[in-house]
């Protein structure tokens, strides 16, 4: 076996690493380089301007406004999604009342799982258009429902006071299904004996969730956390299609700023790359932080 190790490593490791370097790492390095130029993107000419782009960025109110929105998303989207995901997954895995063992799901679990997962099957573009119609201030489902019970409705995406929360709700909605399935899979890997023992000891459902399920799922939750944090720092497609950052920049996010600077209202690729570089470091720090903060003692059950 031993002498066969190197060919194996070389065949299976070198090509992917090469691909990764060429298609992921090198564009990054280029982005860093471009961010120090005033390149306008439609000719090869660019001047080195050092850190001038970053200096402008520091004083750019629109960028700060977008970052603020991303910060709110970062604080809320992962928490809401994970809590909802855990809740639904628990209900599906052990919400049922049947039997003494107590670890059965609610009736029709498979159907619910499909329903929850449904948004995941749709393309984000379709989700955005779908919700734009739901939020239609005159004929939308939401407005009609509120009118139906005699309440007045806001203009949803047309009002800076509500637009941001409308988009946030769609972000959570479109993500929950995936984490229901993810958590559900992780839960089914937990041996039933543990639950049976806990139930025999007389633990309530909530205690079971908090003291047994959650610790056993912690690594999965952490991964979910990191992915959702990255999602919250991006949020580009939904925002771009539903509101394009408006009204009056109330739903703007940093990804939309970058796109708008490069392809939208201006063609400043140097400056857009600077925004991208900032985004890169922000995402990296958030991910590293959430991995650090989330570190717990591992519980082994096998």
């Amino acid at each position: 076996m031993r002498h066969g190790k190197w060919p194996l490593i070389v065949t299976f490791l070198v090509p992917p690493v090469l691909l990764y370097v060429v298609f992921v790492v090198s564009p990054y390095l280029q982005a860093f380089q471009i961010s120090t130029t005033d390149w306008l993107g439609y000719s090869p000419d660019a001047n080195q301007v050092g850190l001038a782009n970053f200096k402008t960025l520091w004083h750019d109110d629109y960028v700060w406004n977008a970052l603020k929105n991303n910060a709110v998303l970062l604080a809320l989207v992962p928490v809401l999604t994970i809590v909802l995901g855990l809740f639904f997954a628990t209900m599906l895995a052990m919400g049922g009342r049947k039997g003494r063992a107590g670890v059965t799901g609610v009736r029709g679990g498979a159907l619910y799982r499909t329903v929850y997962f449904f948004p995941q099957v749709l393309s984000v573009v379709i989700i955005a258009l779908l919700w734009k119609e739901v939020y239609h201030p005159n004929q939308g489902l939401l407005t009609a429902a509120l009118h139906g019970i005699g309440l007045s409705a806001p203009t949803w995406l047309g009002d800076p006071a509500t637009a941001f929360w409308c988009v946030l709700a769609v972000m959570v909605w479109s993500n929950v299904g995936f984490y229901v399935v993810l958590f559900g899979a992780a839960m089914s890997a937990v041996p039933k004996e543990i639950y049976e023992a806990v139930l025999l000891d007389g633990a309530s459902r909530f205690t079971t969730l908090r003291r047994v399920t959650l610790p056993l799922l912690w690594d999965t939750v952490q991964v979910a956390w990191v992915y959702l944090a990255i999602f919250a720092l991006d949020g580009f497609i939904l925002v771009q299609l539903m509101t394009n950052g408006g009204p009056n920049f109330s739903t703007d996010v940093i990804g939309v700023r970058m796109y708008d600077t490069a392809f939208g209202s201006e063609t400043k690729f140097g400056y857009a790359s600077a925004i991208g570089v900032v985004m890169f470091f922000l995402t990296l720090s958030v991910a590293v932080l959430s991995l650090r903060v989330g570190r717990r003692e591992r519980i082994e059950y096998s």
Partner: protein
């Protein structure tokens, strides 16, 4: 290392792949370095061939696949090959002009003709400041393809050259001719015995009447509120004359806060104050608001002359959409009521580094021939910048009213171009201010203040090239 570690590490590695910064660079830098003119095609100029097209040189045309489709371009290409049968034409259409062509501009191998339009349009300020577009002066001076005794320039409608000119150089051929005004359904107005108002006072009185009849007088695209800046600025220009527009275009200090703009903003604030706008409009996008208008929920909407073809599928039969100029503020107006904003739109360009520049220009000459223009109008129901090209072409109802409105406006027609010079100013900044203003969250003074602030921020941004135009 157990499987949890693997999972965790793969998540961390996933990080590197996620944000879009690398992507941006990845699609942006195609190569670089100047292309030697190894493959530039030149032919000999003659009376038959005034632009010096090389007969067998291939021609590449990229069309924006939007509302006009691409069939019209294929027809123009067929006309081109009729004259140059040996030329091979490569045709493609895309919705994302900017993303598709950006690497090719950097690489120095752009196509010969680009229809730079749509939401994914390349910002012209960026292109012009990088000298990426061919000067079309030679085309203007060339004789028209099928109007004897006239140069191409002589066949164009007034304003067609100005709108595509930057610092006096004609760089962008805007092929369609668009009128911007206020639209209403002639059917609705005839049924109710309403008459379109010529002064602002009458307009407000009419709005009251319409509201009393249970119809909202106005609606607008709340998610693209800049549509409402058009009638507002038009009102100001009609009051104060075209210099109001030149001041805005030239980023003059306090251009947005001129007396005319103040009077116009005050007037338009009335329809917000008196709740003459369809409830919920601030939350509608352009299609949704136009549809509400077609359904008879609102009487007026502000739009350009593309409205009719854009709404083709949802307009009820006999709706008879009609364009009208903005009402006059009073007897002190410098321009008559009939004056309407008319401008050339749908930009085409020949990139400076195109290999077949002469072919590109010749293709434009084909488009600007009477035959080419008529074919376009027939196919997509839109006017072109070629004068008199609608003769003998049967037009749909709305477009007929556009032609009439433009005729009545005549030499009093006006236009502004700050939106071409500084895309960001209209698309982002004025847009945001309009959203606040027409939803009633801010008053006229704050509205103009916010627009002015936006204009000032453009004026102070040294990375944006500035253009000036004469009155």
């Amino acid at each position: 290392m157990n499987r949890r570690d693997i999972l965790r590490r793969s998540a961390a590695a996933g990080l590197l792949a996620t944000p879009a910064a690398g992507l941006l660079a990845g699609c942006a830098t195609g190569g670089g370095g100047d292309k030697d003119d190894a493959e530039t095609y030149k032919g000999t100029k003659s009376e038959q061939n005034p632009l010096g097209v090389k007969e067998d040189a291939p021609l590449e045309v990229v069309i924006f696949g939007g509302g006009f489709g691409e069939e019209y371009a294929k027809a123009h290409e067929a006309m081109y090959t009729e004259k140059y049968p040996k030329a091979k034409i490569k045709h493609s259409a895309t919705q994302e002009i900017s993303k598709t062509l950006q690497p090719r501009f950097v690489d120095g191998t752009p196509p010969d003709v680009v229809n730079n339009s749509g939401a994914g349009q390349i910002d012209f300020n960026g292109l012009v400041s990088q000298n990426a577009i061919t000067d079309l002066g030679e085309l203007l001076a060339a004789p028209s393809l099928d109007v004897p005794g006239k140069t191409v320039k002589d066949t164009l409608l007034p304003g067609a050259v100005e709108v595509g000119s930057y610092d006096g150089k004609f760089l962008v051929l805007n092929y369609t001719y668009t009128a911007y005004g206020i639209w209403y359904s002639n059917k609705l107005f005839t049924e109710r015995k309403w008459e379109y108002a010529k002064t602002w006072e009458e307009h407000i009185a009419l709005c009251k009447q319409i509201k009393a009849a249970g119809i909202a007088p106005w609606t607008y695209a709340g998610l693209h509120p800049r549509y409402m800046s058009w009638p507002l600025i038009a009102t100001a220009i009609k009051l104060g004359g075209p210099s109001v527009a030149t001041a805005i275009d030239n980023l003059e200090p306090n251009a947005w806060k001129s007396d005319s703009m103040k009077a116009a903003a005050d007037a338009w604030h009335q329809i917000v104050k008196d709740k003459f706008i369809l409830e919920g409009s601030p939350g509608l996008d352009h299609k949704q608001s136009q549809t509400a208008w077609c359904q008879g929920k609102a009487a007026f909407i502000s739009c350009g002359s593309w409205l009719e073809s854009e709404q083709k599928d949802v307009t009820p039969a006999g709706f008879n959409m009609t364009i009208a100029p903005t009402p006059s503020l009073g007897s002190g107006d410098k321009l008559p009521f009939e004056a309407i904003r008319g401008t050339a739109g749908e930009p085409f360009m020949v990139p400076a580094k195109a290999s077949n520049v002469a072919g590109g220009l010749e293709y434009f000459r084909t488009m600007l021939s009477k035959k080419g223009a008529q074919d376009f109008t027939k196919k997509v129901a839109s006017l072109t910048v070629v004068a008199g090209a609608t003769e003998g072409v049967e037009l749909p109802y709305g477009l007929t009213t556009v032609v009439k409105a433009l005729d009545a406006s005549g030499a009093n027609g006006f236009n502004w171009v700050y939106n071409n010079y500084y895309r960001k100013l209209e698309r982002n900044l004025v847009d945001a201010a309009c959203g606040e203003f027409f939803s009633g969250r801010i008053g006229p003074a704050e509205f103009l203040e916010q627009c002015q602030k936006g204009a000032d921020s453009i004026a102070q941004d040294s990375s944006i090239k500035k253009y000036k135009r004469a009155a």
